[in-house]
Structure formats: C-alpha cells, structure tokens
Symmetry: none
DNA sequence: CTCACGCTTGAAAAGTAATTTCATCGCTCT
DNA sequence: AGAGCGATGAAATTACTTTTCAAGCGTGAG
C-alpha cells in the first residue's frame, strides 16, 4: 500500500472480493459520482468499449482518455482490481461474454448477398443443427439391427447415386479398412446385375435422400427378393424404398435455401449415419478390426513425404 | 523478427489473422504435431485450463509447465499471438466464454464398449465441435481469394486421394451443377498428366489432411509451375504442400480415438470448407448459377418414382 | 481579493513482467 | 563415436506497469 485517495488508503491488495467482469458496467455507474473527472473519463471509456480497451496498454488507454498512466491505474484500483493488468484481463473476458451472449444465433437463410463471414457461420450452424437432428431422430434399435447384420455379413453391397454415391463410397472405404468385403455401386445397371448374386447372409444398403430414386430402389428390391438383409438410409422412411428394406435408418432434412437445396445438404446427415454404422461394426468385430485399421494406416506411411 | 523455428522465421507481427479465442483448442490440436515437446506441454496446459493459465504470468506458466519463459513466448507466437501478453488476454476471453456457455457436454472418447446410443451421441457431438472449430479457424481472406479465383476460372482441377477423393468429387459435382468446368482426379498419374495442361487462369485444388500426401502435392506443384492458381485444403497449413499453394484453407483436426483416426474424421471439416467455397462461387456467379442449379434438379425429376 | 490547504493530476523514477539473445545441451543421422 | 542441427533455459534486454512526488487547480476562509 502506497497511495491514498480521498484520505482513504488504497490497498495494493483489495482482497475482499474478486470483481466479476460482468458487474463492471454496474460498478462504473455506482462509483462514478465518487470519482474525479479524469477517472470518470477512464471508467466511461472502459465501460463503453471493453473490447477496444482490452487491446490497449496503460499508456495507450491514458492517451485515448487524455489522462496519464497513474490515473488509469488509480481507476483500476477503484474498480476493485489490483492494477491495470487485471482490469485488462477482466475487460477481455467481458468482451468475450458480450460477444457470446449477444450471439445473433444465425437463423436466416443463406442469401445471395451474404458476406463470406456470414456464409461460413450460417453453413456451420446449419450443419450442426442437422447433426443434432439426425442424432435425435435416429432409431437406435434399427441401427443395432443393421450393425448386427453388417458384422456377420458375407458380403456387403452399397447402392447410391449422385451425391449419395459419395456417401456410399465413404462407407465402403471404411468397411474395407476393417477387413469386410464391401462394394459401392453407382452404376444402376451394374448394381442390379450384382444384386442378383446376393443371398441370405449378404447385406445390401441403399442410400437415397428422397427415398424415391428408382435407380437405387431397384437393386435393393432385387437383393431383397434374393434373400439378402436390406438396409435403407433415407430421409423418407415412408417412401417406396421402405417396402424393400429390413432396417430403415432415417436421416434428417436440413433447412433448404435457394443456393443449397435439400438434396445437397442431406450429405451431412447421411455421413453421420454411415459413421455410426462403421463404429458400431468396428466395435463388434474389434478383434479383427483394430489390427486391420492400424495396418491400413501403416501401409500408407510411405505415401507421405518424410 | 528475431527468432527462427524449424528454419522458418517467426515474425514478431504474424499479421495474417488475429486468432479468435474460441478456436484456440482446435489450433492447439492442429499445430501440436509441429511443436517440440516442451512447447506441447505449454500448449496442452493452456488448452486444458484457460482460466487457470490466464491468472499466471509468463514466469508462472513457465514454472507450472516446467519450462522457461522463452518457451512460453515461443508457444504463444506459434499459436498466432504477438506474445504471451496477448495469449493471456485470449485465455481470459476463452475462460469467460466457457463459463458463459457452460455446456461442456460429452467429451470422452468413443470406446469399444460404448453402447450404440453413446456412439451416436458422441459422434454427433464430435462432428459438431469439429464444424465449430473449422468455422472459427477458417481464414476468410484466404477463402475470399479462393472463391474469386474459382469464379473466373477457365477450368478447375481437383486432386484428392483416398477419403479426400470423395470430398474432391463432392466439390466437382457441385461446381458442375452451376456450369463450371471442373474435374476430380484420384489417379495420381492422370492427375499429373492433366496438371501439365493447366495454365494461368486455371485453378487447381489439392485436398489432403496431412499436407504431406505426395500423390496430391505433385500434381499441385505441376499446376503451380504452369501458372495456375493453386488452392490447398489441408489440416496442416505449414506442411510441404504450402510451398505450392497460393491460397490455403485450413481444416480443423477432430479429436482422435482408436476407432476413429484423425484421417477418417477430417472429412467433416473438409466438406464444410468445400461447401463454403461452393456457396461463395454460386453467389458470385449467381446470374448463371441459379438457372443452372434449378435445371439440374428438373433434369433428375423423371429419375424418381411418381 | 488572495492566500493557504488539500485534492487532483501527470512526468518521471522505480519496479515488474515480457521478450530476446545466446550458450549449452541433447538428439539424430552418419 | 561424433558432427551438426534443433531445442532449451539462464540471463540480458526491452516493454509495460506501478509508484513517487512535485506542480496545478479549485475552493473557501480570512
């Protein structure tokens, strides 16, 4: 303790209460009347632009308020902090809270004239929502049954067209890595041709957002008729495809916008389902899956630069 | 600028992007592999207890991590701040945000004996986190530049291998739908062969999580040497690939677990970046993109059952 | 009206924290 | 084994913060 203010000693360690950042504005208002003119200037500046002030050093803030370093430190003390350093930390925290709390929670559609910053935020937000919806809407008993069928399958065929074909390939890539026999078919003719070979103990998976994609339903029907266990990953559990699916995994439909039609955004949801299938199967075949996984990554090692 | 790290000058003013506090944990994960042991200790400590660390001085944090002040400052620089002082401010901000948000949610790794219900919840949670991290860590100015290049490109080639090839195909499918000329290459030989044709006004995009996939770097280098504008979508912005990329879009690394290696989960982050690119380009070419988009959906109508 | 007292203020000194330098140490690759 | 390079921390330097102190300013009594 070295200085006095209004005759009262201003402690270096005002121990009583560690001041909460959120209460800062209130504290400024409370104490303003007791402050001297230049201290008021500092306090006001700090309260009105926490973020901006957090970026300044004592000297910077002194200049900005047209006062001196000493005054800034005095004000910090009065507000309950040991010194300016700590006030500054509190300001940064306050700014962050304001930014988080004041979060506009982007809900509007992506528009043509949105800035890229908005686009990034909105896309991320939409996809997060989509994931949450999918997880909430997924029927775990159906998933369980699908995983069980896959784990013991002799052979797995996956049908997907267009964007869904990529999802199918993703699933197949993963299943191959844990030693299962899986094929992805994007060509409807070849898909049907192969479906004819399917029989009991085999698993056929069809991926279609609309649930009405003929080119994908057809091979699933054929596999179904030949006795294979069939799984549908679709956004329309009541679609035509349901008739030929033993197990239905429902994906969720994201918000549509002109630049981002539903069919295009269904991907996220489908991929989550695919990952759930994969992890489920990997768990149930852990004895063989784990070594196969590590082997597949080691095999790729020399494909990377040192 | 005074010091060097891994042969690269570490700027006193790493101007490009002021790192957002929220992205800090993600950034730690992204950069951890490039760090030295003691820097990793500092980074980890900081990421796991932002609030506690915000209360410490350089010396304090150095002691707590069993390192030196110099190492703490070096780590701060690597994480994108001018020095420890600024990292400390960011930590205070982060701590405040966490306290406000409050929701720590499921953070445990996916284990072999998790029930499927847990698997679904954890996967969804991880992917959501990954999306948030990616959005927070994405450099919008780089994205802006990439979008501009794509919008006026004569021709677009996309290189991706393995899981990244699917992401590349997704991007190409979308670009084709709005009338751009785009090709995806998964075959490294064909990719290089095609890259030779690239010239000024063309755009080449390489997608690799590790940033070290030779088969993908090679075609990008060739395209770069032939004058094309090159874009890298990678989780390692400091990898070899950076040398041949005009614009770098950084993807975020999700938490790893045994059943779900980083390479496998990088997909989510990459797809978000791809979507941002697509929407950005669609906005800037709206006159042609909008009609092309609707036309492409009408064309598919008869492929669905009534 | 002015002078004296005491609070307010900022310049500069003193002190503390952050940054840079540099020598050493340890690891890897011959 | 040892050469070379990167990693590391102790110490020097620099930047920032805090304290001191003397001058300024206002007020109110004489």
């Amino acid at each position: 303790m070295k200085e006095t203010f209004k005759g009262v000693a201003v402690e270096t360690r005002p121990a009583p209460a560690p001041p909460a950042p959120a209460a800062l504005a209130a504290k400024v208002r409370t104490l303003a009347p007791t402050m001297t003119r230049s201290m008021q200037r500092v306090a006001e500046t700090v309260a009105s632009d926490p973020a901006g002030c957090a970026a300044l050093t004592v000297t910077g803030l002194a200049e900005r308020t047209g006062t001196s370093e000493a005054t800034v430190v005095r004000t910090s003390r009065l507000l309950g902090y040991p010194g300016y350093r700590d006030l500054r930390l509190a300001l940064a925290a306050l700014a962050a809270q304001q930014a988080a709390g004041g979060a506009p929670a982007v809900t509007a559609d992506i528009a043509v004239d949105d800035s890229l910053v908005d686009v990034v935020a909105k896309l991320a937000q939409e996809e997060q929502q989509c994931l949450a919806d999918t997880a909430a809407g997924l029927d775990v008993s159906q998933l369980e049954a699908a995983v069980a069928a896959l784990s013991t399958a002799r052979r797995i065929d996956v049908y997907g067209i267009g964007a869904s074909s990529l999802v199918g390939q993703d699933l197949v890539q993963k299943l191959l890595r844990i030693g299962l026999i899986a094929h992805a078919h994007a060509d409807p003719h070849l898909a049907v041709t192969n479906a004819v070979q399917m029989r009991t103990g085999d698993v056929a998976i069809a991926i279609t957002h609309s649930g009405r994609t003929t080119d994908v339903i057809e091979p699933l029907r054929v596999a179904f008729d030949h006795g294979a266990t069939t799984i549908a990953i679709t956004g329309r559990p009541d679609g035509e495809i349901a008739a030929y699916a033993d197990h239905i995994l429902t994906t969720s439909t994201a918000r549509e916008s002109e630049l981002r039609p539903a069919a295009m955004s269904s991907r996220t949801s489908q991929l989550l389902v695919v990952d759930c299938l994969f992890i489920g199967v990997a768990q149930r075949t852990y004895e063989t899956a784990a070594p196969a996984l590590s082997a597949s990554y080691e095999a790729l090692a020399h494909r990377h630069q040192p």
